[in-house]
């Protein structure tokens, strides 16, 4: 098992991003949990704890960006995308200011804190904003590379990070391709397009399917917006059947983004693995993933179903 993507965020702040004098980091009294605090050690003058005030934090980040800084604002995804939505919309996305939002503790795997703290709609919210780029790294290495790339890119970026450890899918040579989905496995029978913590599960499912002679093409769709249309169409062309998997509501997330492309350009039979229009609840990440249908077994069932009916 690797480390959590939030831990990777903390690591890259401390080992690399602090060297860029333009980078400033803001947090809303969660620096220890989001791991942004590690930046404070490396560059104390460029670290601003804004207290428990996410709206003010996003607005302040906007002002810093308007004056040439590259602010990274962190807090839990549920507060970033939800509570400060209006500030992200009007003060950051509308003027296209160069703010990076590192939203941690996303999805069900925040666990025991329960439904109030589980952002299962943040991708939908952020994806709906013009000018916003939305990226959901699958493992620690990818999170590091995404953060490095986001700081180089000009414009608002929402980076979705998790609380729990995730297995490593990439080695130290991995290069993140901005806006291009990653083909992890080639196959012609079904396309599994996954994002975030579901990517590793999709790979495991593909290995099981292979034993039955079913070849799955597995895609890591780290960037949800702008979505890699070419890769989606190519995968649909190749396999004729698509399964999406995300730790997010099936309303407005990766599944929706993929279906928006396919329904207009190449209608393709789809199945979506994700949270079915529901809030979460307290529990261990493992129990919650099972209860809300986000396990390898659920992806397998979706694949079997779509192969049968396609």
């Amino acid at each position: 098992m690797g480390i959590a993507t939030r831990a990777a965020y903390g690591k890259i702040l401390e080992t690399e991003l602090y060297k860029n004098e333009k980078v400033v980091v803001l947090d809303a009294d969660l620096g220890n949990a989001t791991k942004s605090m590690s930046f404070k050690e490396a560059a104390p003058k460029r670290y601003f704890d804004m207290g428990i005030s996410e709206q003010d934090m996003m607005g302040t980040a906007a002002g810093l960006a308007a004056s040439g800084k590259v602010p990274i604002a962190s807090t839990f995804a549920v507060f970033a995308a939800g509570r400060a939505f209006g500030q992200i919309r009007n003060s950051i996305a509308y003027p296209k200011l160069n703010v990076k939002i590192a939203a941690t503790h996303a999805g069900l795997t925040v666990g025991e804190d329960g439904g109030s703290h589980q952002a299962v709609e943040d991708i939908a919210l952020m994806r709906s904003l013009p000018n916003m780029t939305v990226i959901n790294p699958a493992d620690a290495k990818e999170a590091e590379e995404v953060l490095k790339a986001a700081v180089q890119y000009y414009g608002p970026v929402y980076i979705r990070l998790g609380r729990a450890a995730v297995e490593d899918l990439h080695d130290e040579h991995y290069q993140f391709n901005w806006g291009k989905g990653e083909i992890l496995l080639e196959g012609k029978d079904v396309g599994i397009i996954a994002t975030g913590i579901m990517v590793g599960k999709a790979l495991a499912v593909a290995a099981e399917l292979a034993k039955e002679g079913i070849e799955a093409r597995v895609i890591n769709m780290h960037t949800i917006k702008p979505i890699d249309r070419t890769l989606i169409l190519e995968t649909a062309e190749l396999t004729g059947k698509i399964v999406t998997a995300e730790e997010h509501s099936v309303i407005g997330g990766l599944g929706s983004a993929v279906s928006e492309v396919l329904s207009q350009e190449r209608p393709t039979k789809m199945a979506m693995v994700g949270i079915q229009d529901s809030f979460g609840e307290s529990g261990s990440p493992k129990d919650l993933l099972e209860k809300y249908g986000l396990t390898e077994k659920d992806i397998m069932l979706a694949v079997k179903k779509i192969i049968k009916y396609a």
Binding site: M50, G51, Q55, T60, A62, G63, L64, S91, P95, K96
Partner: protein, 273 residues
Amino acid sequence: MIKEEFERRAKQVRKNIVQMIAAAGSGHPGGSLSVADILVVLYFDAMHIDAKNPGLETRDRFVLSKGHSAPALYAVLAERGYFPKEELMKLRKCGAMLQGHPDMKRIPGVDMSTGSLGQGLSAANGMALSAKLDQADWRVYVVVGDGELQEGQIWEAVMSSAHYGLDNLTLFVDHNGLQIDGTNDEVMKVMPIAEKFRVFGWNAIEINGHDFEEICSAIQLAKHTKGRPTVIVAETVKGKGVSFMENQVGWHGKALDEVQCRQALEELTGGEA
């Protein structure tokens, strides 16, 4: 700058405001007229700016947090030479540069996009922090409305400015006492304003927001205050300068028709034509 010169500029700005709102057929004359004198002092006297180089890195920044008063800002920017005055008459028209609320991506001289009340002071704090980080001596000026103080984010930002000792930031409260649904007192009390800021750690100055001398000297006091931000609570008259608009709740967000526009211009011209 001498008083007569301020008065001449302010009169011209007010005429532009009523004309552009009448031409647009919509907009917010009341709060634009109440804040006009403050903007005239900032843009014609107090701020270090260069209309020929709106993006000058060392310029003072301005954030109109009460973004609906954009006509006042646009009129001042046009008078100051940021863009041709013809643009004013295209306000709010599809495809025009001048949006209903300030848009920094389209309009030269606009330092921050605003329009959702309560957000401007946070952005201004970010700018002031940036200047501090760079040890630069440019300053940040912000205007909020009195009704806008009802937004919770304002008080988050008020805490931040004081916490980070942003003495390079000056906030004006355009205190005309009225908002869309009625007086501040009827809708949601905001008084006492200066005292609230003082207990939050700010330097607070109360002035007549239509007295050029008082506006100028308050800005000077703010510049010389070290270690904490300054708020200038400016007593103003909503609809200032147009008799039938002054202190009228109904003129918050309503355009003048042709007859009203003519009358307003006559009053503002004061027989000088």
